[in-house]
Amino acid sequence: MKDSNNTQIELSKWKELLSLQKRVGKDFLSDDALALLRNRLSVGVTYFMLEYPYVDKDFRSTYYSDFSKRHQKINRNSFRIHVFGENEEYYGFFTLRNTPPFNLGRGYLNPKALTVGQGHFLLTKFDAHILGKTFSVDAFPWMQQDANISRCAQVSIWAITRYYSEKYPVYAEHTIQQIFDLASSDTRKIPSKGLTIENISSIFSFMGFYPEIYFSEIVNDRKIFNEIIYIFIESGIPFVAGLRAKRHAIAITGHLKIEHEKDDTDCITPVSDLIKGYFSVDDNFLPYSIVGSGGKHSICDIDTVIVPLYEKMYMDVLTLLNRVLPEIEAAFLPHKKMYRRVFMTSSTSFKRFIFENILDEHYRSHLLLEQMPKFIWIVEYIAKDDYPNQVHSRFLFDATALKYAGIAMMISARVGDLFIHNGKSATLTNFQEPMYKNNLREAGYGVDEASSG
């Protein structure tokens, strides 16, 4: 094995995985890891570019903290495997570390590199540098657990926080070892036993988030709990999902394309009822594995949601769903053949949407000039006959509102052609509005589909 005293970087091109395994050896690509790759890599992948030695910051962090202390020699260097598709399109990379059988280290792979169902993904841009040239990829971070320092819970936190630190400068980057160190334990920490749900939430807090926890038995209504899962994804907020019966944690990072079927039921149906599955970062499978339709876990397996919120997202989603919306719907939506979409967004993004999509000039300008809080809850109602073309009614709520503030938390609303604000109303001449889709697109969703949401 060439090592650090080698002055030349090895770069070689490989067409198929078996030859790659022969080159790196089973200590770096075990049969298990190879099988994972072979099962999921897309037919669109044309070749791999091997880079060695590669200093993977996440593996090095655990190496210096733990693996270097072991009797058996563990190589501190990693292999980095770049993945290319048709016309040399860059699909991202993954690393191979000397921790068999869990060799697959940090990976930033675009969904195009894998066999993935159609849908909406939370992705952000990562850069990779090869011989002075920069390649960019839209991806959600992923890695396998190493079973000593990182388990599924640490990997889920790492994936979510790496997504945030890459996307928003306000969040600092943390390596997997730093995340491991943030958890407290009354017993020895290595080999890691995973994390309690309280640990997961505390780690998010240490990292500058304001997490909230939802348990299905406390929400006490599976339909509402499923809607909560959808709401955070539609809001562009990835979260840790606990599958307590399996003692497993994953990160939820997107949802499958909505397959809309004709629905004549005379009731308000949450859009979450139309979603058959979610994309996840599950360290047991390659990224974007499905929870639900055809996946290894069902949506009902998710019984815990640990969501890392931003400070000013105060208003609780349960207050909105259980207390406010039933009253709003009873008062303003007597005809109930509607779908309901609930999500949070920044007022900046919402105003951008308003600027580009509202046709009534006076109404549009009124909304653009309105002072709004940093984050707002939006509730859209779409007539079942019109789905997904236009929004019948849209209500805006102040996400920074005081708890128990009553109707003061509502900023404004449009119900059909009637615009409502501060107890006053105006009739609009043109109230055709599409569904708001900016959250997913804004968050850099490369494989987002424009036609559904």
Partner: protein, 61 residues
């Protein structure tokens, strides 16, 4: 910056009128949201307590 001038001008042109039926509906919602305030506070406290207890019981990983 013609577009900005247009937004500023148009923003003042939306004719907002006092609307008694809307005001009644909003007042009624406000009343309903506040009529069980103590019950809501109790319920939230209980939920927070149970969440804290459960969050310590399960290891994931």
């Amino acid at each position: 910056m013609e577009w900005m001038k247009q937004v500023l001008d148009n923003g003042r042109k939306l004719e907002m009128k006092e609307d008694k039926s809307i005001k009644t509906k909003l007042d009624s919602i406000d009343m309903k949201l506040k009529e069980n305030l103590q019950e809501d506070i109790e319920q939230d406290r209980l939920r927070e307590q149970k969440t804290l207890e459960l969050s310590r019981q399960y290891f994931l990983g």
